[in-house]
Symmetry: C2
Subunit: 336 residues, 2 copies
């Protein structure tokens, strides 16, 4: 956060009160570190559901400088209390596994739809002047009609998670437009970096691949590995979140994130092996339940975020992968 | 159903087993009448929630030729049982009031999202070969970016109901694509005709206007009355539902309905007064809670439905309004 926009961000956040749902998760904890650095008073709300991404080790570097409140976003009364007095709310808690959403659509609905409504109702009733940033996802678009995908692309999600995230995003936009609870949604693509979940491939394949290269095991690529993806280092996502929350122009708006260097999954595997200095990958057939909800190639057009938020990704994929691997080589025991 | 497509429809429905959720409501009951006429075995499922549109009088003409099961679509176990053995499921139950959805978003979520998921889960587990047709709504589009609105138009709903209907539609499409539970969504615009709810303006303004002209009271138009709308007579909507369910090409697809003669609200008021042979209208200021979720002018492009389903509206607005007023002059006591 010391790059361009640093002064603007310091003005926005120094002494401000900031709440992060999913605050012990991958993106939430990285955001917390940045906010502490910017001088904010940070409240992290997380339920630490074992299969999800929350991990107390994530906030080790700032443990004494943030407030942690263990609570589930489905807990309406707690949310009613916690949102009070906050200047910013980064609403990052979510069920993010596509496969889980197909096996248990009701839990996905409760977390990604019902809780979003109750958080927004809490803001409307108890803190209508808060600014909210929601973490949307490229999964809302489904299988792209064209590339790169911009915000004019139709949303036609391929799984229940994508549908519920789409609804969750639009609750934010409607509450912003109708009730003046200012909100912005960022549609995140693949985010990677320190503190991501690497236990298994339920949430992200990249977390699992990182685990495999760290452990010197072979990476398995589904299909022919030619499908393209874009990847953002979490530091870049954190800076997008901070810029979106600080921008009035962004109220009621949605923005894609993205990267200037989309790569194929094969290329990604090679880059991981190279960054690690050893390892291998191979192609394997698609598991049926994954093929059914796969979206083929995707990469996003983030022109709108660049023009309106002044955001662009700064960490190259090669550098980002290398430092992420280094992080897990050092902290592996807290993440497996 | 004696017009073009009549033979095809008779082949599809004669002796078939058909379930309609919201079957005692406005559209469901008109559909039931048509299906009985086509020789189908019809099961009507409805909860008869007092403030909604279900009304036992609606099925008076076919009372002895249909089966009625009172149950709420939120009742998972009942749905699991009822879907079994059905060839077609017209999934019309829904919370349709935009204002209600803003005042009580959770009930709207339960009916329009959670119940849709549980109905689809019931089909997937207990009757995967059923064909489902879902009643979507133009409200999913929100305030149009251009006119007429086709299916390539972005969905950016302006209220919670529009968001939840959008999610409900996409559950159907995803279950069709992923699990092979064949489903089609029709995005209905303003539907009018016999058996619609005319108690108040909570669900539709047109129902209320019909009530006013029938009762020889003055119609109040919000704003300047220049906003355009398209209207479908319920007979035309019924024929679209029947064509969609019978079409394999329609599986996993969404279709706008619409009309070749969009009119302004002023024109509509004049047509109602003319059809009734007496009455008057006047302009009044927008109530704030309605203005906030209003979508301005809307009319839909139904080219896709015409080309792929062979559907087009046949009842002119003037004829439709006249016969609808006649219906309420005769049956008023059952609807107020």
């Amino acid at each position: 956060m010391t790059d361009r926009g640093g002064t603007r961000l310091r003005d926005a956040y120094q002494g401000s009160r900031v709440m992060i749902t999913g605050g012990l998760g991958f993106i939430g904890s990285n955001l917390a570190l940045a906010l502490v650095d910017l001088g904010a008073e940070v409240l992290l709300v997380d339920s630490l559901i074992p299969r999800y991404g929350g991990n107390l080790h994530n906030i080790e570097p700032v443990r004494d400088r943030v407030r942690v409140n263990i609570a589930d976003v489905r807990d309406e009364y707690s949310m009613n209390h916690l949102v009070q007095g906050q200047d910013y709310l980064f609403n990052l808690a979510g069920q993010v596994s596509h496969l889980d959403s197909m096996q248990d659509p009701y839990t996905d609905l409760d977390i990604n739809c019902r809780s979003q409504l109750s958080i927004l109702e809490a803001c409307r009733k108890h803190n209508p002047s808060v600014k909210v940033v929601y973490a949307g996802t490229r999964q809302q678009y489904g299988k792209p009609d064209y590339l790169p995908v911009d915000e004019r692309h139709l949303m036609h999600p391929t799984d229940v998670n994508g549908i519920n995230k789409m609804a969750g995003e639009w609750y934010h936009i409607v509450y912003s437009n109708v009730y003046g609870v200012r909100a912005t949604s960022l549609r995140l693509t693949n985010t990677y970096g320190p503190r991501m979940r690497i236990v298994d491939s339920r949430q992200t394949f990249l977390g699992w691949w990182l685990r495999l290269v760290v452990d010197e095991r072979e990476i398995e690529i589904y299909g022919d590995g030619t499908q393209l993806r874009d990847f953002n280092h979490v530091d870049d996502v954190v800076s997008a979140l901070l810029l979106a929350a600080a921008s009035d122009e962004a109220n009621g708006q949605v923005y894609n994130l993205g990267s200037p260097e989309p790569v194929s999954l094969r290329q990604l595997a090679e880059m991981l092996v190279e960054a690690r200095g050893r390892g291998s990958w191979r192609l394997v057939p698609w598991p049926e339940e994954r093929r059914a909800i796969d979206i083929g190639s995707y990469y996003g057009d983030y022109t709108r975020a660049r023009e309106q938020l002044g955001w662009q990704p700064r960490v190259s994929l090669a550098d980002g992968l290398r430092s992420t691997i280094d992080f897990y080589l050092e902290h592996r025991q807290h993440y497996v």
